[in-house]
Symmetry: C2
Subunit: 454 residues, 2 copies
C-alpha cells in the first residue's frame, strides 16, 4: 500500500521562522508616510502593534526564534500533514507527482492561526489586555479569537455587516472561543457612527471594519490591533508551513520543481514558498514559484507596481506594492480571502525581480478544480484553496501533454466546511466569470494620487 501522508512528530515543529528579507537580492523600498512621503519608523507603528512585532516587521535577521509558548499552542494541530495526491494524479492520468500541504487541520480550519498565535502571544507578553481586528468572511477573526482565548486576552472583532448577517456560523465560532463580534459599521466607533448616520443600511466593507478596529486600538493604551496578512511579520510567522514541508519532502525522498499557493495578501503564498525560495537563493536550486490569484482581482498579473495604501480608506502608510488601486472593488467572489487590491511588499518585490511567477484563474475554473479534488482526494476545500488546486491541475496537465514528470507541491490552505454555499451556487450554475477589462483597471488606477515608482 502506498503511503499517502508524510507526518512529522511534534518535536519536529521548527524552532525558528525564516525571514526572507535577509536573503533578498533587492530589498523592498520602505513604507512612507502619506503626509510627508518620508520613510516611517517603528515608533509610527507603536500605537497599534507591540514592540516585538514591530521589530520583526523590520528585522534583517535571517532566523527568528519561535517562543516555546507559541510552539506549545502550535502543537494542538502542527505539524500539519503533507499528502501525496495519489487520487488526483490518477484522476488526471498525469506523470507528475503532486503533493499538498494541508493547513485545514487547525481548529479554525486554515493557515491563519500560524500568525494569530504568535501575535496574541507577543501582545499578551507586553501586557496588552485586548486585541481588535476586522474580518470579512471570518477566517481571520476565527483564528485570532482562538489565539486570544489561549492567552486569556479579550478579542474584539469587527465583522463586515454583510458577512455578519450572511455567515452567522463563523461569528458563533468566534463567540465559542470567547470573542466579541460586532457588525461593522457599528455604533461603537466614531468611524462607524459616521457611516451609519449617512447610510443606516450600509453593508459594510473591510475598509470600514479596519477603521473601526484601528480606532478602538488607538484610543486605549491596553488595546492593540492585529492584521492577518500583507505585513512582513505575518508572512514571517507563516514560514512554519514551508519549513515543515521541506522536512516532509526530504522524508519522502523528493523535492518540488514547482511550488504553488493561492494569493490574497500574500501570507499563504509566502508561508509555503519562502523557505523553498531560500533553497534557490542559497543553493542555486531552480524551483518555480507560482502565486495563484482570481482573475477578478488580478493585482499580480495585471496590476501596477507603485506606492499605495494598504486599506481602502487611506489610513495606513503607503506601501510599495503591486496594486489595482486601493479603491478597486473586486467582484463578490466566494474566495473572500483573495479579494484584496494589493500584494504584500516582499512578494511584490520578488515578483518584480522575477523570482516568482503569478497566474490567474476564473471563478468557474476554480470550482471545477475544487469538485474534482474533493472526488479524488476526499477533502472539500475552501474557495481560496481551490485556486492553488486549479494551478496544480494546470501544471500536471501540462506535464501530461509534454510527457515529462515534474514534482508539484501546493498549499491546501483550508477546508470548505463553512463555504458549502459556494459549492451550492456552483452546482446551481450561479457562479459567473467576472471578466475585468483593461478599462476597469485603467479607471481604478487613474484615481490614484500616490507616488509612482520608476
Amino acid at each position: 500500500m502506498k503511503n499517502r501522508k508524510i507526518l512529522l512528530e511534534e518535536n519536529e515543529i521548527p524552532h525558528q521562522w525564516y525571514n526572507i528579507l535577509a536573503d533578498m537580492p533587492n530589498k523592498p523600498l520602505p513604507p512612507i508616510s502619506p503626509a510627508t512621503l518620508e520613510p516611517i519608523g517603528p515608533e509610527d507603528l507603536a500605537p497599534l502593534f507591540p514592540m516585538e512585532l514591530i521589530k520583526q516587521e523590520v528585522s534583517a535577521e535571517k532566523w527568528i526564534d519561535i517562543p516555546d509558548e507559541v510552539r506549545n499552542i502550535y502543537s494542538l494541530w502542527r505539524p500539519t500533514p503533507l499528502y501525496r495526491a495519489y487520487g488526483l494524479e490518477k484522476t488526471l492520468d498525469t506523470p507528475a507527482k503532486i503533493y499538498y500541504k494541508y493547513e485545514g487541520v487547525s481548529p479554525s480550519g486554515s493557515h491563519k492561526p500560524n500568525t494569530a498565535v504568535p501575535q496574541a502571544y507577543y501582545n499578551a507578553k507586553e501586557g496588552v489586555k485586548k486585541i481588535t481586528t476586522e474580518t470579512g468572511a471570518g477566517q481571520w477573526g476565527s483564528a485570532l479569537s482562538f489565539a486570544c482565548n489561549h492567552f486569556g486576552m479579550e478579542c474584539e472583532v469587527y465583522m463586515v455587516r454583510v458577512s455578519y448577517d450572511g455567515k452567522p456560523y463563523r461569528k458563533i465560532m468566534m463567540n465559542t472561543w470567547g470573542a466579541s463580534v460586532y457588525p461593522s459599521p457599528s455604533n461603537r466607533t466614531a468611524a462607524g457612527r459616521k457611516i451609519l448616520a449617512e447610510h443606516p443600511d450600509s453593508p459594510g466593507s473591510l475598509g470600514i471594519a479596519i477603521s473601526e478596529a484601528i480606532e478602538v486600538a488607538a484610543s486605549d493604551p491596553n488595546t492593540k490591533y492585529s492584521l492577518g496578512s500583507v505585513l512582513n511579520h505575518v508572512k514571517l510567522h507563516q514560514t512554519i508551513i514551508g519549513q515543515e514541508a521541506i522536512k516532509q519532502m526530504e522524508k519522502a525522498g523528493d523535492m518540488p520543481d514547482i511550488v504553488i499557493a493561492p494569493f490574497g495578501g500574500g501570507s499563504n503564498f509566502a508561508g509555503l514558498s519562502f523557505p523553498f525560495l531560500r533553497l534557490n537563493l542559497e543553493e542555486g536550486k531552480k524551483i518555480r514559484f507560482i502565486a495563484s490569484e482570481p482573475s477578478s482581482c488580478p493585482k499580480l498579473t495585471r496590476g501596477v507596481f507603485r506606492y499605495d495604501f494598504g486599506d481602502t480608506i487611506g489610513m495606513t502608510p503607503l506601501l510599495p506594492m503591486y496594486t489595482l488601486g486601493h479603491n478597486f472593488v473586486p467582484a463578490p467572489i466566494h474566495a473572500g480571502g483573495l479579494r484584496y487590491h494589493g500584494a504584500g511588499v516582499i512578494v511584490s518585490q520578488l515578483l518584480r525581480d522575477n523570482l516568482i511567477e503569478a497566474v490567474s484563474h476564473d471563478n468557474i475554473e476554480v470550482f471545477e478544480a475544487g469538485v474534482l479534488f474533493a472526488q479524488a482526494e476526499g477533502i472539500i476545500s475552501a474557495p481560496e484553496a481551490t485556486h492553488g488546486i486549479a494551478t496544480a491541475i494546470a501544471e500536471a496537465r501540462k506535464c501530461k501533454e509534454e510527457g515529462v514528470s515534474k514534482t508539484i507541491l501546493f498549499n491546501l490552505c483550508g477546508h470548505g466546511n463553512f463555504d458549502m454555499k459556494a459549492y451550492q451556487d456552483y452546482f446551481e450554475g450561479k457562479i459567473v466569470k467576472h471578466e475585468i477589462t483593461e478599462e476597469d483597471i485603467r479607471k481604478s488606477l487613474a484615481e490614484l494620487n500616490t507616488p509612482e515608482i520608476a
Copy 2:
C-alpha cells in the same frame, strides 16, 4: 514541551477488525421474524445487503481481515490522532490524565466513514451499482456519499425533509461527492407517496426515510441498502478506532482506567471500547466502559431489555435490545445522531451482563462541556461528541474530589463545523433540558406488542 498528539504511521493501520461476538460470555439472542417469531437467517437479509456483510453480521470469527482496498481509502485520514488533553486537564485542575481519540479528521468529519468505506467496497465487489440509505442530520449520508464515490457507485440518500430544508450544507457536501439527495417523504417511492398523499407538508422522519431507502433497494437487484449504526457489521468496522487507540496508549506508556464514548445506536461506543474490552475479557484487566447518552433519549439508563423493531415503522426483524419502544419520539435535541430509540444488540447484551455502564447528560450540561472543551483544546465538537466530553469531565472532577489520578480515554467522534447553529442556540439560551418522566417511558413501552425477554 509536552507531546500532545500520539500519532501512528499508515503502515500501523490495523489489518483486522475485532469481532467481540467471539469473546462474549453470553451471546446475544437471535434476531427473529415479526411474522413467525422464528430466528431469521442470512437469506432473509440478502435482498438488502451483500453476502460478505451478511457473513460479517453473524460471524463467530474473532478477527476479520480488512481488505487492502479499504485500508488504502482509510489512509486518506487514518490513523487518526490520539490527543493527551493537557489543556482540559489544566482547566479542570484534575489529577486525572485525559486522552481523546479524534475521529473528526475524516473528510466527512466523523467516525462514520470507517464503516461506509468497507460497506461500499463489499457492495462494489459483488457488482452492486447503487446504494440507498437514509440520513437525518447528514453525518451518515455524507460518509456514504464519500465512500461510494471512491468505488464509482451511485449513492441515493433519503434525507429527512426537515433536515433537508434546515441543513442544506450537508446536502451540498453529499452532492460534491456525487450523491443524489432527495427530501423524504418523496414522490420516488410508494411509501413516500402514501405519506405525501395524507400529509403533503410532512416534515419526514428517519422511519419514513428508512422505508423509502429500503423500498428502492429491495425493488432493484443492482441496488442495495446500507445502515450507519446498530448492526453488528457496522460495530465491527468501527473497531479500527479502538485498535489504533490501544497502539497509541501503549506508545504513550499508559492504559485507560475508564473508556468513554457517546451513545446513539452504538457504533461509536463499540468502535472505541470493544478492543479495550477484549483486554478485560482476555487478560482480566479492569477497565470501566461508560456509554454516554442524552437524558432525553435514555434507552440504556431507563429503557427495558426486550425484542423491538430497529425502525419506527416496523419493517426490520425484531432485535433483542434496550429500548424505549420503537414509537418513542425523542425531543428535537441537536445531537441528532443520538436520537434513536434502541441500542444495538451486542451493546445491549454487554450492558445486561454488567460488562459496560451507561450514564446520561442533559442538553445544557453537554453544551457547557462542549464550550469548555473548545476553549481548552481548540476543537469545536459535534453535539453528539459533547456527550463523551461531559462524561469525561464528570469523571475527571470525581478524581479531583477523591484525590486520585485515573487515566480517562474518550472518543471525540466528530467536529461541529456543521453544527454551529446548535452552539448559537446555546449562547442565546434556547437550549432546554427535556426532562422525561417515568410516565412518558411507561406510555411508550405500553404500546409495544413485541415479545418480552425473561
